[in-house]
């Protein structure tokens, strides 16, 4: 009896709750933590606090009426989500897209990717305790938002793509502004590098923290910067090219270590690669239509099921649509990359310290409404 009590006291664990309301950034995520002192014994994310029924709405709304929903799933890289849905429907209904529209799509998607990574950067360092990079990142981001607002009309939840093209053309002011932005950003990135990336506190908090192995990525289906930080060279833009990505010359940053620092470096390098793509796209931008010549009145995909994947800022976003020939989807499945990325949180945080687990959560780049859909 005495021995049993001794055993209990030494191994006493308690359960605490992280969330669902915690400092802005991620959203409403609740994590049930079973702790032994400062060490995590078990971590279980609880979802569903922002479940907004996108898949049910896919069945209730016509193909075109679902477009505004795409921007609200992952609002930080809404253009990629637009692209994924529109490309899936175009594949199902065999709609051709004019070349200029494809280039405009790529330019806006890549600008959105940069703004998403900048916000991730600010919020991640805020989680680790540094407040200042957030203000600098938001400052850079506001320039992108101004440019995109002049073309699409919205700052955050874009609804710019239509079936067969985009709805508004760009003008010279946009092109000049984008080149100006790229020039300015190329001067800012070394500043971030020197002040944040080479900061000894950041290095100590991120290096060798939160190891995710390649085998774990396969069993959980992790994609995007989470997989590329673990040595897996998988980018939908290169492995499964869509749109006009084959015409651009860009690298895919891959780091082998698998710790939080590797994922951080992958995203910082991706900002530069996105800028390269935008420059090449602006140089090669062809003249032409941005919508198909014959206006599409009614979209009627053939019966059957189709799949299309694009590379969003957080991984491979897939749309599986089952159509029965009508004006609405029979079933619309949205494969969200963060869903698979977060599912490995329970296994990856076993035995970690709580602050390290939060650093790992930040490096996974979560946007909870995308998980809950």
């Amino acid at each position: 009896m005495n021995g049993l009590l001794q055993q209990d006291v030494n191994k006493e664990t308690f359960t605490i709750n992280l969330g669902p309301q915690h400092p802005a950034t991620h959203g409403v995520l609740r994590v049930k933590l079973v702790m032994d002192g400062e060490y995590i014994v078990e971590a279980e994310p609880v979802l569903g606090y922002i479940h907004r029924m996108h898949e049910k709405m896919g069945e209730n709304r016509t193909w075109a009426k679902f477009l505004p929903n795409c921007g609200r799933m992952d609002y930080l890289s809404a253009m990629s989500y637009n692209h994924g849905y529109v490309a899936a429907v175009e594949r199902a209904a065999a709609i051709e897209v004019p070349e200029r529209a494809e280039y405009l799509r790529v330019i806006t998607v890549e600008m959105n990717r940069i703004s998403s990574h900048l916000l991730w950067f600010g919020a991640f360092v805020l989680d680790l305790g540094g407040f200042t990079p957030l203000l600098y990142a938001f400052d850079d981001r506001e320039l992108i938002l101004d440019l995109l607002e002049s073309v699409t009309g919205s700052r955050l939840t874009y609804c710019y793509f239509r079936f067969g093209g985009v709805y508004n053309d760009i003008d010279d002011a946009f092109i000049a502004g984008t080149r100006e932005f790229i020039k300015r950003q190329r001067k800012r990135m070394p500043m971030y590098d020197a002040l944040v990336t080479k900061n000894i506190i950041l290095i100590k908090r991120l290096k060798e923290i939160g190891h995710i192995s390649k085998d774990m990525a396969i069993r959980y289906g992790a994609t995007g910067p989470v997989a590329r930080g673990s040595g897996i060279n998988y980018d939908v833009r290169k492995n499964e090219p869509y749109s006009v990505y084959p015409e651009f010359d860009f690298d895919v940053p891959v780091y082998e270590e698998g710790d939080s620092m590797a994922r951080y470096m992958v995203r910082m390098d991706e900002i530069e690669q996105s800028m390269r793509i935008i420059e090449q796209a602006l140089d090669k931008l062809p003249e032409g239509e941005i919508k198909p010549k014959k206006a599409i009145k009614l979209v009627k995909p053939e019966k059957g099921d189709y799949y299309h994947a694009v590379e969003a800022a957080r991984g491979s976003f897939g749309v599986r649509l089952v159509s029965d020939g009508k004006n609405q989807a029979y079933r619309l499945k949205l494969r969200s990359p963060t869903y698979s990325n977060l599912s490995l949180y329970g296994e990856a945080t076993k035995g970690m310290l709580l602050p390290d687990a939060l650093a790992l959560m930040g490096s996974l780049d979560l946007v909870i409404p995308e998980i809950d859909r």
Partner: protein, 203 residues
């Protein structure tokens, strides 16, 4: 290369459906292991011989060919440009864990699991998407189950990521995954007892 290899490996599952309709699955599993590297021609022969055993399940006496030429069961290659995936595999629910083991051995990663409610056929379908990191090859596994008592064996002991996907499919459609460690609601409130994505769901 990879597509042909995985098609061979998965088609060996179908031989056992035809040969061992009454024998237990343990023998079938051993047979699968031994015949994993079966020659393609042998597999094709077997597929050509038995023309749709699933259709003939209700009529075991009839050995004659069915009226319409049904495609032989087995992994079907699809037109990637039109559909977006390479291999379409239709399996009965019991064969799913074996198929998942074959795919894990070849380093496929699980992309998503979802359900579709075919209310006219009175069936629920579960669709599994797999992909490969090194060489693009999308494999889709499908399985159908009865709408009244839907039950499918889990693959979450093979692919841990399937744990959440199966919980979500259970939330939305009510499909019970046998031997799943923790089939609680994931996206719906904990006390939810409704399955919203069924076609006859009324709020």
């Amino acid at each position: 290369m990879l597509l042909a290899k995985i098609k061979e490996a998965l088609s060996s599952l179908y031989e056992n459906i035809q040969e061992t309709e009454e024998t237990p699955d343990a023998d079938a599993a051993a047979a699968v292991e031994a015949e994993d590297t079966a020659v393609a021609s042998a597999a094709e022969e077997v597929q050509a011989e038995e023309t749709a055993p699933e259709q003939e399940e209700s009529k075991p006496e009839e050995v004659a060919e069915p009226e319409e030429p049904a495609p032989p069961p087995g992994p079907k290659e699809t037109d990637y440009k039109a559909k977006g995936y390479h291999l379409d595999v239709d399996l009965p629910p019991e064969k799913l864990p074996e198929a998942a083991e074959i795919l894990l051995r070849e380093d496929f990663f699980i992309e998503s699991i979802t359900g579709v409610d075919w209310i006219d056929d009175e069936q629920l379908e579960a669709v599994y998407d797999f992909n490969h990191f090194d060489e693009l090859c999308r494999v889709v596994l499908r399985t159908r189950t009865d709408r009244e008592n839907p039950a499918i064996p889990t693959i979450s002991h093979i692919y841990q990521g399937a744990n959440w996907h199966e919980r979500e499919t259970h939330d939305f459609f009510g499909i019970k995954f046998i031997d799943h460690p923790n089939l609680e609601p994931l996206l719906l409130p904990e006390d939810a007892d409704f399955h919203p994505l069924l076609k006859d769901f009324k709020a």
